[in-house]
């Protein structure tokens, strides 16, 4: 990932001419494993209900189990279809002034976080992502947070370093150029 691009853009990008970057294809594998674990839990609950819930559900036993099975089929289809669509739609862009993320499967979201508002940058990874060499970067502002999911670990570290660098430079420039804060107003 190039970190010194022209005209204020931080990423070179391989997601099209607009500077947006795409995720690594391994993100689909991570999602599939994640989904498989979740599905195994749902399946276990279904099997437990099927074995032990007859007395509790009484006359509704068949109805509830059929509804549960139907939900399991829908969930299976959804879980199988989501990763490729998520991968295909996911775009992110980090420039000198903003973090921009576009993602979504059924509902499409576009999140814009001004770098100026970023308070904290966090790189995190669970066991599955660690195994696949992926990590999430969470950008926290005073009003909420945005996450860039499934980045390669190196890239996640670079993104976090880049964001920290941008914030640090911004604060340094302020210290150099700004006059004393007006009375009664908070200093940074």
């Amino acid at each position: 990932m190039s970190l010194s691009p022209p005209d204020g853009q931080v990423d070179g990008g391989d997601g099209g001419g607009d500077g947006y970057r795409r995720l690594n294809r391994k993100c689909m594998l991570s999602m599939y494993i994640d989904h498989a674990i979740s599905y195994a839990i749902y399946l276990a609950v279904y099997l437990l209900a099927r074995t032990y819930a007859q007395g509790f559900l009484g006359q509704y036993y068949d109805l509830v189990l059929h509804a549960f099975a139907a939900v399991l089929v829908v969930v299976l289809v959804y879980m199988a279809a989501v990763p490729p669509v998520y991968y295909a739609r996911y775009r992110y862009r980090i420039t000198r002034d903003r973090v921009d993320v576009r993602y979504g499967v059924i509902v499409i979201r576009h999140i814009l976080v001004p770098i100026e508002r970023v308070h904290q940058v966090e790189v995190s990874r669970g066991p599955i992502n660690s195994m696949l060499g992926l990590a999430d970067v969470t950008v926290t502002t005073a009003g909420g947070e945005a996450t860039i999911n499934y980045l390669e670990i190196d890239e996640a570290e670079k993104v976090a370093e880049l964001l920290n660098g941008l914030i640090g430079r911004m604060l340094l420039e302020r210290r150099k150029t700004a006059p004393a804060a007006p009375p009664g107003l908070a200093n940074d």
Binding site: D97, I106, H110, L112, E116, R117, A142, G144, G184, N187
Partner: protein, 493 residues
């Protein structure tokens, strides 16, 4: 204020011990089932003595130091604590007096900093004699607002608008959200229904009527009475850049904050309030926590007639007043709202099928008018609810607005309880634009703006507009940062 270490007023020992008393009584009740009365009494006395001793030690080893640049609260007990609060980071210093404070002639000073993570709890609660607390508040206010709040100035200053006890009662009764009133009414109706059934021969209510009635009191009457007590003797005024609020019947509140701390202003009117042509104003201000779990959003105006509300808005927060030219939702938004209403109606109809059958079976055997009417009550209510959902969709389409001004922008929302939220671009932390599957077909999106709020973080949603129109909010935020219009010193958190 010379940097010397001072202790809280001794009454905190009693106050803290009393707050733990309920837990001790509960413990005593549990023990009473296992031990005889003498043993329980002995344990209770020993526990109380230990508690008093513990709180005495806590009091003796806790000191406060008001230095030139900061306030330092230090506790030298087993679990040591040293908290430094720089004046430059303090958002507000407020006085709060409960019943015990009145008995002991003390006041609680609550110091809040500009933090989203601890927005609901004050950073420090310091109990001093009333005159000492006033003096400290005055000096700290001078440090944080650059003007001294002279002791007793709240008594001298008049409110910008007078609020009579009738206004307070109206606010208490009609500022409760309509959905809460509807839920409470359902409980009341169910209670009456159970009472009616119980008058029949051989039928009992099994306490259902009483439980429902209690739920009604808990959901509707309780909050109303609490609001009346909270806002009794309400006064508001502004001096320089500081807004002052004073209210309370049993517990009194004196709150002040700098106007630059306001992130957004909400003009709200519930359905009932709108029928009376009344609305109220609330502000999103970070750093006003009292730690008592009350609504932290300061009310700048109780429910008053719309003209008075506009007048007060111009006088108290002219920074949030501008010439608006609102955009209505596009025609395509109507289709999205109607599809949403149809989906909600379908879900409601499915959910009400079983209860309708249950009531039908239960009430069909009743003699007289009850047997003729009650079986059809739930289907009728469902039909009315479906009608209400479609009507709300229609109203929502009609009233939802978005307005992008130069420094401020506004979202108007709410088919039932209406809310106009005026926000400053410089206070926006994050923007999210969402497009669901139906909205995508019709080419509209919903925007969500994230701000720092009284409770940490909050978000305000827009109606359905074109993505480019909503995207302009984020772009304006970025432009203001890039062009230098945004002054971080006024807006940093």
């Amino acid at each position: 204020m010379s940097g010397e270490k001072i202790r809280y007023h001794q009454s905190v020992i009693v106050e803290k011990s009393l707050s733990s008393l309920s837990a001790m009584v509960l413990l005593a009740l549990v023990l009473a089932t296992q031990l005889d009365r003498t043993a329980v009494a002995a344990i209770l006395v020993a526990a109380l003595a230990a508690l008093l001793l513990f709180n005495y030690r806590q009091w003796r080893l806790t000191t406060v130091q008001f230095n030139e640049t900061d306030v330092v609260v230090e506790r030298d007990t087993l679990f040591k604590m040293k908290k430094t609060l720089p004046y430059s980071k303090i958002a507000s210093v407020n006085v709060n007096r409960g019943i015990l404070n009145r008995l002991f002639g003390t006041s609680k000073l609550q110091i809040n900093i500009n933090s989203g993570s601890s927005a609901t709890v004050p950073e420090a609660v310091l109990t001093f004699r009333q005159d000492t607390a006033e003096r400290i508040r005055s000096v700290v206010s001078q440090r944080i607002y650059d003007r001294e709040a002279s002791p007793g100035e709240d008594e001298i200053a008049g409110s910008l608008v007078s609020f009579s006890p009738a206004d307070v009662i109206i606010h208490g009764l009609f500022s409760v959200p309509t959905h809460q009133t509807v839920v409470a009414s359902v409980f009341l109706a169910y209670s009456l229904f159970e009472q009616y059934l119980s008058v029949g021969p051989g039928l009992g209510t099994d306490g259902k009527a009483l439980v429902s009635l209690m739920m009604f009191v808990l959901i509707q009457i309780g909050p109303s009475v609490s609001l009346i007590f909270h806002y009794y003797n309400y006064r508001i005024y502004r001096r320089g850049d500081t807004v002052y609020l004073q209210h309370g019947l049993v517990r009194t509140y004196r709150t002040s904050f700098n106007v630059s701390r306001i992130n957004a202003v909400r003009i709200k009117s519930t359905f009932a309030a709108r029928l009376m042509h009344r609305s109220c104003i609330e502000a999103e201000v970070v750093g006003l926590a009292s730690g008592s779990g009350e609504n932290l959003r300061p009310v700048l105006c109780l429910l008053k007639d719309d003209a008075t509300v506009q007048k007060l808005l111009r006088e108290v927060v002219p920074e949030f007043v501008y010439e608006r030219s609102p955009e209505k939702q596009p025609e395509s938004a109507k289709s999205v709202l109607l599809i949403r209403a149809a989906t909600a109606s379908l879900a409601l109809a499915v959910a009400m099928t079983y209860p309708s059958l249950y009531v039908y079976r239960g009430a069909a055997a009743l003699p007289g008018a009850a047997g003729a009417v009650l079986p059809y009550v739930l289907p009728l209510v469902t039909a009315l609810a479906v009608f209400a959902i479609f009507y709300a969709a229609h109203v929502s389409y009609r009233i939802t607005e978005f307005d992008a001004g130069k420094d401020l922008f506004t979202f108007v929302n709410g088919a039932v309880d209406r809310e106009t939220v005026v926000m400053n671009y410089d206070k926006v932390q994050m923007v999210r634009i969402t497009q669901g599957p139906v909205a995508r077909i019709f080419g509209v999106s919903q925007g969500r703006v994230y701000l720092l709020s009284s409770t940490g973080g909050t978000s305000v949603s827009s109606g359905y507009f074109s993505g480019s129109l909503l995207g302009a909010v984020g772009e304006t935020v970025m432009e203001r940062i890039a062009s230098g219009e945004y002054d971080y010193r006024k807006n940093c958190v």
